[in-house]
Subunit: 96 residues, 10 copies
C-alpha cells in the first residue's frame, strides 16, 4: 500500500555539530535499509530545499507510523502523509 510522504528538515541552529552529524549518519543508514527492503520505494530531494519527496510501500497505517516515527530526524522534521492508490489511467503493472 503506497503513501506519499514529504519531509522538511528543520535542525535547530544550536544543536551541537557532532550530534547533528551522528543523527544524519544514522538517518542515512536507516533510510538505505528501508529502501533495500522495498518499504521506502522512492526517495527524491526537492531541488533547492532541505526536503524530500518519498513513496512508502507498507502493509498498513500502523507500519507507516512505525517506520516514520523511528526516523532519527523525526523530531526535527515537518512531515505530511498522503494515502495513494492505483489511478484508473495508470498503465503500470505494479503501481510502482
Amino acid at each position: 500500500m503506497l503513501f506519499k510522504v514529504e519531509m522538511k528538515v528543520n535542525i535547530p541552529h544550536d544543536l551541537p555539530a557532532e550530534v547533528v552529524d551522528e543523527i544524519k549518519a544514522t538517518e542515512k543508514a536507516y533510510s538505505q535499509d528501508l529502501q533495500q527492503q522495498g518499504k521506502w520505494r522512492h526517495l527524491w530531494r526537492v531541488a533547492g530545499s532541505y526536503s524530500n519527496v518519498s513513496i512508502f510501500d507498507v502493509a498498513d497505517n500502523t507500519e507507516l507510523q512505525e517506520l516514520i516515527s523511528a526516523l532519527p530526524l523525526f523530531p526535527y522534521m515537518d512531515i505530511s502523509v498522503t494515502p495513494l492508490c492505483r489511478h484508473p489511467s495508470s498503465i503500470s503493472s505494479d503501481d510502482s
Copy 2:
C-alpha cells in the same frame, strides 16, 4: 529530469455531461501515451480525492510546460510543480 506534479480536478457543475465525458476520454488516452513514452513516469490517485500525484521525466522545463498545458483537463485543474533531483541517500540506480 524529474518533477513531482500534483493535479486537483475541479470540473464546473454546469459543464454538459457529454463534454465532460469527452474531455476525460481524451485525457486518459493522452496520459497513457505519455506514460508509454516514459515521460509520465508515475501516476497515482490520491485516496479520497479527485486528485493525482505524478512524476514526470522530461528534458527540461520547456517540455514540462508543453506536456502539462496540453492536458485536456488543464483548464479545470489546480496544478503544483516541484523540481526533484537525486537524494544523497538514494540507492536507486536511475532515480526512478
Copy 3:
C-alpha cells in the same frame, strides 16, 4: 485500517431542488449501508456546519478511494483524509 475523513458539503445554489433532494436521499441510503457493513464506523455532524467527521474502517487505501468516490455528494464536497493507527496510550481492545 482506520481513516478520519472530514467532509464539507457545498451544494451550488443553482442546482434544482429536486436534484438536490434525490442526491441527499441516495447519499443517506448509501451511508447507512456502509455503516451497517461496518466500513463507515463513526459518523458525526459538526455542530453549526453542513459538515461531518467520519471514521472509515477499510481494507486499504484502494477501498477507501472506492467508497468515497462513490458518494453521491462527492462532486459537491471538500474532503480531507487522515490515516490513523493505534495510539500507544489507547486502552481500547479494537481501536474502535
Copy 4:
C-alpha cells in the same frame, strides 16, 4: 456531549530528557484514567505524525476545558476543538 479534539505535540528540543520522560509517563496515566472513565472515548495516533485524533464525551464545555487544560503535555501542544452532535444519517444507537 461529544467533541473532536486534535492534539499535535511540539516538545522543545532543549527540554531535559528526564523532564520529558516524566511528562509523558504522567500524560499516559492521565489519558488512560480518562479513557476508563469514558470521558476520553476514542484516541487514535495520526500515522506519520506526533499527533492524535480524539473524541471526548463530556458534560459540557466547562468539563472539556478542565480535562484538556490538565493534560501534562498541554503547554507543549497545538490543540483544536470541534463540537460534534448526532448526524441525521447515523445508525448508531449512542452516537459513539
Copy 5:
C-alpha cells in the same frame, strides 16, 4: 452553555432581489425570536462587513446545531463556532 458563533453572509449576486428580501425578513424574525428566548444571547454587527459576532446559550451541541442549521441564511453563510466557558478571572455572576 455558551458558544461564540461568527457568521459572514455571502449572497450570490444572481439570486433574485425578492427572494433575498424574503430570506432576510425571515432571518430577522427568527433571530429576534431566539434572542427573546435567551438562546441568542448577544448579536453584534462587525463594523465594515456583512458579518456578525454572536454568543449562543444552548443546552448542548445538538441544540446549537438545530438553531444554526435552521437559519434562513444558513446556505449563504460561512460560519465558525467556538465553545466557551467561564474564565478563571471573570467577575461575572452568570458568565453573560
Copy 6:
C-alpha cells in the same frame, strides 16, 4: 464603543516559573479591575485552549490601545481586534 478582542497566550517555556506566576497574578488583578469599571465587559475562556474571547467597551481606539498594551501578558499574546456595532436585528437595549 464595543470591540471583540481575542487573546491567545504563548508563554516561552524557558521563562522562570516565579516570573510567570507574578505576571499571571498581576494580569488577573488588572483584568478584574477593568471588568469592575465596565471597560472589559465580557471575558470567556475558549474551551480546550489557553485563549480568551473578550468584549471591550471603550471611549475610542486610543483607550482600547492603552488598556490592551498595558496587559501584563501583552508581550506573550497573539491578539486580534474586531470593531463591533449594533446589529439591525438586535433586540438589546444597550448592545451589551
Copy 7:
C-alpha cells in the same frame, strides 16, 4: 477616530456593463462626497491591483459601518478594517 480600510473590488464578469458603469459612477460621487466631508480622509490606489487603501475618520464604529455598508460597490468588495490610533513616535499635530 481613524480606521485603515482596504477594499478589493471583485465585479462578477456576467454583470451587465451598463449596470457596472452606473455602480462605478455612483461610487465615485459617494466617495468624493465623503472625502469633502473629511470622513474619507485618504484614498490611494494599490499599484497593479483593482484595490484601494483608505483612511476613514469617523465618530465611532457605528458611523464606520454606516459609511462602508452604503458603498455602491459594497456587495462586490472584500473589505478589511483596522482600528488606528496615535503612535507614540508621531510628530503629527492631528494624526492625519
Copy 8:
C-alpha cells in the same frame, strides 16, 4: 512616490532590557527625523497591537529600501510593503 508599510514588532523575550530600551530610543529618534524630512509621511499605531501602519514618500524603491533597512528595529519586525498611487476618485491635491 507613496508606499504603505506595515510593521509588526517581535522582540525576542531573552533580549536584555537595556538593549531593547536603547534600540527603541534610537528607533524613535530615527523615525521622527524621517517624519520631519517628510519621507515618513504618516505613522499610526494599530490599536491593540505592537504594530504600525505607515505611509512613506520616497524618490524610488531604492530609497525605500535604504530607509527601512536602517530602522534600528528592522531585525525584529515583520514588514510588508505595498506600492500606492493616485486613486481616480481622489480629490486630494497632493495625494497626501
Copy 9:
C-alpha cells in the same frame, strides 16, 4: 525602477471562445509593444501553469498601475506586485 509582477490567468469557463481569443490576441500585441519599449523587461512562463513571472521597468508606481490596469486580461488575473532594487551583491551594471 523595477517591479516583479506575477500574473495568474483565470478565464471563466463560460466566456465565449471568440471573446477569449480576441482578448488573448490583444494581450499579446500589448505585451510585445511594452517589451519593445523596454518597460516590460522580462517575461517568463511558469512551467506547468497558466501564469507568468515578469519584471517591469517603469518611472514610478503610477506608470506601473497604468500599464497593468490596461492589460486586456486584467479583469481575469490574480496579480501580485513586489518592488525591487539593486542588491548589494549584484555585479550587474544596470540591474537588468
Copy 10:
C-alpha cells in the same frame, strides 16, 4: 534552464556577530562568483525586506540543488523555487 528563486533571510538573533559577518562575506563572494559564471543570472533586493528575487540559469534540477544548498546562508533562509520557460509572447532572443 531558468528558475526563479526567492530567498528570505532569517538569522537567529543569538548567533554571534562575527559568525554572521563571516557567513555574509562568504555568501557575497560565492554569489558574485556564480553571477560571473552566468549561473546566477539576476539578483534583486526586495525593497523593504531582507529578501531577494533571483533568476538562476542551470543545466538541470541537480545543478540548481548543488548551487543553492552550498549557499553559506542556506541554513538560515526560507527558499522557494519556481521553474520557468519561454513565454509565447516573449520577444527576447535568449529568454534572459
